[in-house]
């Protein structure tokens, strides 16, 4: 039986009528057409679908849309302002932190959760944090450099 879900999505109050089995990532991509959040594995492993729910990074393929009722949700689309990349996005560009780019939105949303709690993470802390994000192109080195540089840019 369809139900109404109301959320705050990137600062805007929105609602949609969905089946209870609809995943949060389906709500974001298919109902609100924000396709920056990707579906990679659909089994909670790859992290391409990471968004923030009430300030914490979560895998939106492993959350029902109805569970997010009344929640504050931020996606990769919330970062750039007036055509200006967010410092973390800019750092990924500068440091070549992506190749195909499929995992990048999830990696960046995950990294911003880390930086929110730990503004100056060590390389080991960054690598530990990225446990939930898989990248099949870069070998992670440039991702780690980009996150470190992005964190530094956000501090200054």
């Amino acid at each position: 039986m369809p139900v109404t879900v109301s959320i705050t999505l990137n600062g805007e109050s929105v609602s949609a009528v969905v089946e209870p089995s609809t995943l949060l990532v389906e709500l974001i991509r298919e109902h609100f057409c924000l396709t920056g959040t990707h579906v990679g594995c659909d089994t909670s492993q790859c992290g391409a679908c990471v968004v923030h729910v009430n300030g914490r990074s979560v895998k939106s393929c492993t959350l029902l849309a109805v569970q997010a009722e009344n929640a504050d949700i931020s996606t990769i689309e919330s970062l750039a302002k007036n055509g200006q990349l967010h410092p973390m996005q800019q750092a990924f560009k500068t440091h070549h932190g992506l190749q195909c780019g499929f995992c990048t939105p999830g990696v960046i949303m995950s990294a911003l959760d880390l930086i929110g709690n730990n503004p100056d993470p060590s390389e080991i802390e960054i690598r530990d944090w990225l446990e939930g994000n898989l990248c099949r192109c870069t070998g992670y080195n440039n991702i780690v450099r980009a996150i470190s540089a992005g964190a530094q840019a956000m501090r200054s």
């Binding site: 209870p20 089995s21 492993t62 446990e131």
Partner: protein, 264 residues
Amino acid sequence: MHQFVYQRPGSLPEAVEQSIQAREGLFLAGGMTLIPTMKLRLAAPSNLIDLTDLTELKGIRQEDNAIIVGATTIHAQVASTPEVRDLLPALAALAESIGDPQVRNRGTIGGSIANADPAADYPAAVVGLGAIVKTNTRTIAGDDFFTGLFETALDPNELIVAVSFPIPQRAAYMKFPNPASRYAIVGVMVSQGYDGVRVAVTGAGPNVFRVPEMEQALADDFVPEVLEEIMVSADELNEDLHASADYRAHLIKVMAKRAVVAAS
């Protein structure tokens, strides 16, 4: 995923009543296991009863000589709460070793122990620290809670409210994680507390178990050397593509010794 009726009760009695009324209801906490299981159609509840709004199940508090963790407290909160880090660092470290940051931001202690995955970490804490599981109807000793593979002492419609961990003199958890999933191939919690020494093993058998020979040896002398001569039988241990039963038996001793060193 099969269709289901989604319910979001506002109180504990309402949640239990909805479960009683449902043809085949399941409680939903963080959903880190249940939702993937439903996607695979290995679970198909008629009703999903979401515990999100039950504030009485959330949070961590210290009471007398125990840390009480509400059932829907997420792993990230257990790992970062100052009281847990100060008074029961073994539990904070265990919580921090579960899955990945996004799993720790959703997964809950109640969901973990109700699911009773043989390779989950929290069962080692519940048994290895001599915890008490509080439900809506009773209290269950940690030693009696896990009854088999994905089996617990919970009755149908019974809901975990909190887990009470007595603060030990010393404790440590060491695990040999599967490098992909971070589930324990073998995880061992060693503690010395009000009721003596406990050694609890997860990942190795169908459910968490204690190793009395190790406990007796450590009660006499809490040093890793006393575990050297103790043979752990590989009979009844898990065997899969990750590790043979013999290897798991070996890992139990290695992880137990490391835990003793870390706790000393």
